[in-house]
């Protein structure tokens, strides 16, 4: 190998630098590339499937998609920082509590006016459509998937005790007391009280909705300050369950819903309330993770006065800086809609991961129905979906902070660190304070 003189080294380095500067990354060539290429990012959930979908889209429509998955922890922060740094990500996932913040701050744009938007609105469940609509009434996202809280029971355990699935929350607790007394389960009840972003705060809404308590008025003021319609009742029930050691205390330090669901996989728990899509991995035949595989874990309709549950919709949104909005819209319609009359991606998520689509038509799709039958009763799933609703308060700019902070407060109430009355007042005070600060 020969040696380089200093001059040779410097001239070669300069030439290489110039080459890079004038190459494909040079500013002059970027505008042309941007028109052909869509930058797409999302949190990493089955990124292989997303990459396959993106590849299929590129081949079919001739628009290149540069897909980059990001870790879920810190997803929001990363996307904001990238936006702040001037990077253009044309299409991205949005986590619903942060979506409004992105929209109000000009990071993402409305989808109104793109072809087919009005048809999509008609096809969706009203609760999901509301989730995807910003506070100004404009549609800002198409669905990645919708999730709603359901009641899951351990059928073999109930059968062993000679019990039928409970039809009221009181009956759930009474059965759990019996199961514990008989020694069939040390902790028979597992509400999703985890501390993460999709845990106890959402579970509280699901249980309240089932009793007819909707927590917020139209101006995003809390209605539960003095106990509300059923907020006090729900929290007192939770406290009793915890005090009587029906619930594993470990749930309070779990960091995510999947961690919570893993406790159910052990087969030692009788009732679990969580997002609907966790039922798939728990109950599908051949699931290696769960002792309740083969539909031993089943879904019951939500008990309570109304039986309504809490639902949310995660979504695909478009950057305000998207270089080619038409191409970006095409990708969004492909991922979250029915491009060329085919729910290609929505169907795949339903079948492969159990992520429900917010479109009524998909429940009638024979392929989806057959897949759902593997791990649940599709009719019950559809009925519960019909009986689900979200909240509009998540569109208030302060809500994401409230949502994060209230988890600790709710856990303190459950553990008895605070009385139910004082805890509810503190929750209401927190909401009012944040609302005032953001005004």
């Amino acid at each position: 190998m020969g040696t380089w003189s200093r001059r040779e080294f410097l001239t070669t380095g300069a030439a290489a630098g110039l080459g890079v500067a004038l190459g494909p990354g040079a500013p002059g060539s970027r505008a042309g590339a941007a028109a052909r290429k869509i930058k797409f990012a999302g949190w990493a959930y089955n990124p292989q499937l997303v990459a396959e979908n993106a590849k299929y889209f590129s081949q079919k429509y001739g628009i290149e998609v540069d897909y980059g998955p990001l870790p879920w922890p810190g997803y929001q922060e990363t996307m904001e920082t990238r936006f702040f740094g001037g990077e253009v990500v044309d299409v991205m996932y949005a986590f619903h509590p942060y979506r409004e913040r992105w929209y109000r701050n000009g990071m993402i744009r409305s989808l109104e006016g793109f072809p087919g938007v009005d048809e999509y609105k008609k096809m969706m469940y009203p609760a999901n459509l509301d989730n995807l609509t910003a506070s100004d009434g404009k549609l800002v996202g198409l669905p990645y998937y919708t999730g709603f809280y359901i009641l899951i029971y351990n059928e073999p355990m109930l059968q062993q005790a000679g019990l039928k699935p409970a039809t009221s929350w009181e009956e759930v607790l009474a059965q759990c007391v019996e199961l514990k007394r008989k020694g069939l389960s040390q902790f028979p009840y597992l509400p999703n009280w985890n501390r993460g972003g999709t845990g106890i705060a959402q579970q509280f809404m699901a249980d309240c909705f089932s009793e007819g308590e909707y927590l917020w008025d139209a101006d995003h003021n809390p209605t539960f300050e003095d106990g509300g319609v059923a907020a006090q009742k729900v929290l007192e029930r939770w406290r009793d369950a915890y005090k009587n050691e029906l619930v594993p205390a470990e749930i309070l330090t779990k960091t995510s819903s999947v961690d919570a669901a893993r406790l159910m996989w052990t087969g030692r728990i009788a009732y679990h309330t969580t997002h609907n899509y966790y039922l798939k991995r728990m109950a599908e035949p051949g699931s290696k993770d769960s002792l309740l595989a083969g539909k031993k874990a089943k879904m019951a309709l939500n008990p309570g006065k109304t039986g309504i549950t809490y639902s949310f919709t995660e979504q695909y949104v478009m950057s305000t800086k998207a270089a080619n909005p038409e191409s970006a819209w095409k990708l969004i319609a492909f991922l979250g809609g029915k491009l060329d009359n085919d729910f290609y991606v929505q169907r795949k998520w339903s079948m492969i991961e159990g992520l429900n689509a917010p479109y009524r038509d998909l429940y009638k799709d024979p392929q989806v129905k057959e897949a759902l039958t593997q791990w649940c009763d599709p009719d019950i799933m559809e009925k519960q979906h019909e009986k689900s609703r979200g909240i509009t308060t998540f569109k208030a700019p302060w809500y994401s902070e409230y949502d994060a902070k209230v988890a600790g407060l709710l856990q303190e109430i459950v553990r008895g660190d605070k009385t139910v009355g004082a805890g509810l007042k503190e929750m209401a005070r927190l909401a009012k304070k944040l609302k005032k600060e953001s005004a």
């Binding site: 904001e80 992105w102 000009g106 990071m107 594993p248 205390a249 309070l252 330090t253 553990r415």
Partner: protein, 318 residues
């Protein structure tokens, strides 16, 4: 030699003071020329972010709108009047104190054992480093599997030995959860403390112990009057590192408790992280974390004063 104006600087060459000064100046310039890239890198990646984050602690930041508005001491006023800050400070103080004591004692104990000659010592010294070399995310996941009240190994062993009838929920009580975090973090960090102590132990001259034995000093007296004074520099380093690490620890909280149950394991670092990166209040988050920095700095100075108030074998060694 006082007053002599000529000094030999190189064999066979005599230089005046002025010449020496000139040469020194030239050396200094040359040295600066060599180190400026490193200094610039340090300025860019350490000093500048520190100054910027300090500025952020006096400002209101909207990341998406790219606005940074100076608000003076408002963030600090908000922090100090927040009940959560006071509670977290108390928890942090307990966590750091327990962690520093446990890490120091366990690290010292391990070092003393490994300083003795016994078969398998080299292997044991290598194994000692494994907990420290693991990523803390791995440590968290590992201990989650050990301490779980549903499928934890520890509960399984205790139940199989007939020592417990029902599994123990280690995180049920907030104080228990905080202590569980202390133990897990100590398990991760004590080996490094042991390594530092071991290096210091091996530097102690053997003759001192032989002389002490001639004077009929017992084991405790040897430890108290020979070992401990010689360990002072290592002890200072361990105390400073453990204190700073204790204050800054968030990764195990992230994996094991997420600040719960309730807010029972919410320390200042976790509160600052959550405020900045979950609530997107970067100014207030920075203010919380700067108070933590000041506490760390104060404690470090206190350690130095405490350990070096009198001259000893190791005074000034750090």
């Amino acid at each position: 030699m006082k007053g002599v104006a000529a000094v030999v600087v190189r064999p066979g060459r005599v230089a005046t003071r002025a010449a020496i000064r000139g040469e020194r100046l030239s050396d200094t310039c040359f040295a600066l020329f060599l180190v400026w890239p490193a200094l610039a890198a340090i300025f860019l990646v350490v000093v500048l972010p520190l100054l910027y984050s300090l500025y952020l602690s006096f400002a209101e930041v909207n990341l998406v709108r790219r606005t940074v508005r100076f608000t003076g001491l408002k963030n600090y006023a908000l922090v100090f009047t927040d009940e959560m800050y006071g509670d977290s400070l108390g928890r942090t103080a307990y966590f750091v104190a327990a962690f520093v004591v446990e890490t120091t004692l366990v690290g010292l104990g391990m070092a003393l054992v490994l300083n003795q000659g016994f078969p398998g010592r080299p292997l044991l010294r290598s194994l000692l480093l494994i907990p420290w070399s693991l990523s803390r995310i791995v440590v968290g996941v590992l201990w989650e599997g050990i301490l779980s009240s549903q499928f934890g190994v520890l509960n399984g062993i205790l139940a199989n030995l007939g020592l417990i009838d029902t599994y123990i929920p280690f995180y049920k009580h907030g104080f228990g959860a905080l202590n569980a975090l202390v133990v897990v973090y100590m398990w991760n960090q004590a080996p490094f403390a042991a390594l530092l102590f071991l290096a210091a132990l091996q530097a102690i001259p053997r003759q001192l112990y032989l002389a002490a034995q001639v004077d009929r000093a017992n084991a405790w007296q040897q430890f108290r009057h020979i070992t401990l004074p010689h360990l002072r520099p290592a002890l200072l380093l361990v105390l400073i590192l453990a204190t700073v690490n204790g204050f800054l620890m968030i990764d195990l909280i992230f994996i094991l408790t997420y600040g719960g149950p309730g807010n029972a394991t919410t320390t200042l670092s976790w509160l600052g992280f959550q405020t900045a990166f979950r609530h997107f209040k970067f100014g207030i988050g920075a203010a919380i974390l700067y108070t933590l920095t000041l506490i760390c700095l104060g404690l470090t100075l206190a350690y130095i004063r405490l350990l070096y108030r009198s001259d000893g074998p190791a005074a000034g060694a750090v």
